[in-house]
């Protein structure tokens, strides 16, 4: 794809040095137009399927079997979504998904944020070894580890509980949390913390009163992302549970036997919170992932 254009916006097309009839300027405008076209096409690729599943979820069940389907729904109704929410086991599974994601968020933050702080603030022996260890977890398909973990959980007597799923999801999220929080703490100026110490704060006091308020928005964005990670995870959830299914595990296990409207409403239910979440943390996305990549 050659529709690339960079750094031009700073230079107005009609600046004296670059008159309109200049072939270079014309080519630049063409490239820019193509870039807009690419932006629109790529956006349609992302948005159209989301629109379609939303339409399907809010079409009455009888109409959803119509063919061909109207692109703009004639009747909008929450009947299909209500049918899904009223199906056996859906609401408890929804609740368990929320509990698992919340537990994962709390556990991974409690375990990961201190490590992130240590990486950001201290020079100590073994620091690079620890950093390498955290980075290398990325080379492993952590989700697959739920099979041996299931065997372990059976012997421990915590198989098929919401806790066991949260424990697995925490292992999944923890390396991510450590890397993110460390980069967030790095971005809080050390001088501010040292000033607080000089003015008589204890290390803990300086952390709570100075570092934490400054780091809070970034930490919140990271925590929200951890929540989504757990909310979406299905392989570990379906391996580690039998009756205490989370929402994705319930939907997956019932996939081949459930009617189509049930599946479509389920997809919409799983997808909708993510759209809101990505909107809330949109300003932090680049920071979050850019730092992970470094």
């Amino acid at each position: 794809m050659s529709t690339v254009e960079q750094g031009q916006s700073a230079v107005p097309a009609r600046s004296p040095g670059r008159p309109n009839h200049n072939p270079a300027a014309r080519r630049r405008r063409q490239v820019r137009a193509l870039t807009y076209l690419a932006a629109v096409l790529l956006s349609l690729f992302v948005l159209v399927p989301i629109y379609l599943v939303t339409v399907t979820a809010f079409t009455p069940q009888e109409v959803s079997y119509d063919f061909p389907k109207p692109l703009v729904p004639g009747t909008v109704s929450a009947e299909t979504v209500r049918f899904f929410a009223g199906s056996t086991g859906v609401l408890p599974a929804l609740w368990r998904s929320v509990v698992v994601a919340a537990l994962t968020l709390v556990l991974s933050t409690l375990l990961g944020a201190p490590a992130g702080y240590a990486l950001a603030r201290y020079a100590f022996r073994g620091k690079s070894a620890y950093g390498l260890l955290i980075l290398s977890t990325r080379a492993f398909p952590i989700v697959i580890l739920s099979i041996p973990l299931a065997v372990t959980f059976i012997t421990w007597g915590i198989y098929d509980t919401t806790y066991s799923v949260a424990l697995m999801h925490t292992a999944l999220a923890l390396p991510f949390t450590v890397l993110i929080t460390s980069s967030i703490f790095v971005s809080v100026p050390r001088e501010l913390e040292e000033a607080a110490r000089t003015l008589g704060c204890t290390p803990l006091g300086a952390f709570v009163k100075v570092v934490l308020p400054l780091a809070l928005p970034g930490l919140a964005a990271a925590a929200i992302f951890t929540f989504v990670l757990s909310w979406n995870e299905v392989f570990a959830a379906v391996i580690l549970t039998l009756r205490q299914r989370t929402l994705p595990a319930l939907v997956l296990a019932a996939l081949n036997t459930s009617p189509l409207p049930f599946r479509f409403a389920a997809a919409w239910f799983m997808l909708a919170p993510s759209l809101v979440v990505i909107f809330i943390i949109r300003r932090y996305l680049l920071g979050l992932w850019g730092r992970v990549a470094r």
């Binding site: 960079q6 690419a38 992302v46 073994g126 799983m270 996305l285 992932w289």
Partner: protein
């Protein structure tokens, strides 16, 4: 793994609180030891365990001898080989569009990043609603007069078509993660380099090929490694779109654990995915050395 506590004993005399960083790291280390390192060792243990608990190649042999093994391995590798380059191309296009600073950059970034929060399962069902017999694609094509009657895209007798639908669904769902990493990398490239390329009359393509791609190499490497590992675990998208008509490695691990109640063969599959993932990481590290690696 245990190097940090071992070093802790020696201490760090420069700081009064020399033990503090180790105390802060300890919880995460212990947790990863129990829920990451231990299961990994256990996966190998289970994969080479006899019914009685002794050492045996039986689970591995059962995996290799299973009728669906070859198909699952082939399909998974094929999916990885097709999905990763396509996603890289789409993600690179998205990243360049975002970095072009069009009007509404934040909006484009938000739209491209939307699938970041969408699960494998939800994405699979979304594309199922498009590709199924009475689905949206057939609906469009009949309304446009391209088709007389619905075409069965998701037909177990057309495995190639099934794989293509999975590729589209995965490209839709998991491109955003690569895009975000690439955008973050692009923003780290000094504007001077790009302006210099401009001054010397580089075409947009030359600029991408000779300035952006080389400078973006570390981000590209991380993105490719992350994405490839996730592609080896492809699971729910396949089940949602193809049911049991298409076999993949993670799906077989699930089937052996859940339906056939044999955790040992399931662990053999898990171990295989583990080995493939680590091998692909090493391959990427060797194929795409960064300047740091070269000078080291």
């Amino acid at each position: 793994m245990a190097s940090a506590p071992a070093v802790a004993a020696k201490g760090d005399t420069r700081r009064r609180l020399g033990w503090a960083p180790y105390a802060l790291l300890a919880p995460s280390l212990v947790y990863l030891a129990v829920f990451f390192a231990l299961p990994m060792v256990n996966a190998f243990g289970l994969a080479f365990q006899s019914e009685a608990g002794g050492y045996s190649l039986e689970p591995v042999r059962r995996m290799l001898g299973d009728g669906r093994f070859g198909d699952a391995l082939r399909t998974t590798l094929l999916l990885v080989v097709i999905i990763v380059p396509i996603q890289f191309a789409v993600a690179m296009s998205m990243a360049l569009v975002v970095n072009a600073r069009l009007r509404g950059t934040d909006l484009w970034l938000y739209i491209f990043a939307l699938p970041l929060g969408i699960s494998e399962l939800a994405a699979g069902i979304v594309w199922f609603s498009i590709f199924t017999e009475q689905g949206w694609l057939n609906s469009f094509l009949t309304q446009l007069g391209v088709l007389d009657r619905p075409f069965i895209f998701l037909n177990y007798q057309r495995p190639v078509l099934l794989i293509l639908t999975i590729v589209v669904a995965e490209a839709w769902r998991a491109t955003s993660i690569i895009m975000v990493i690439l955008v973050a990398g692009l923003q780290g490239i000094p504007r001077d380099y790009l302006e210099a390329a401009d001054v010397f009359g580089a075409t947009p393509w030359q600029r991408v090929r000779h300035v952006i791609l080389p400078l973006l190499r570390p981000s590209i490497r991380v993105a490719l490694i992350l994405r490839t590992i996730l592609a080896f675990q492809v699971f729910a998208t396949v089940i949602a779109l193809a049911g049991s008509a298409t076999n993949v490695l993670a799906g077989e691990a699930y089937r052996w654990y859940q339906n056939l109640r044999d955790a040992r063969v399931a662990a053999a599959y898990a171990t295989l995915i583990l080995i493939l993932s680590v091998a692909s990481t090493v391959l990427f590290l060797l194929l795409l050395p960064t300047e740091e690696d070269r000078s080291a």
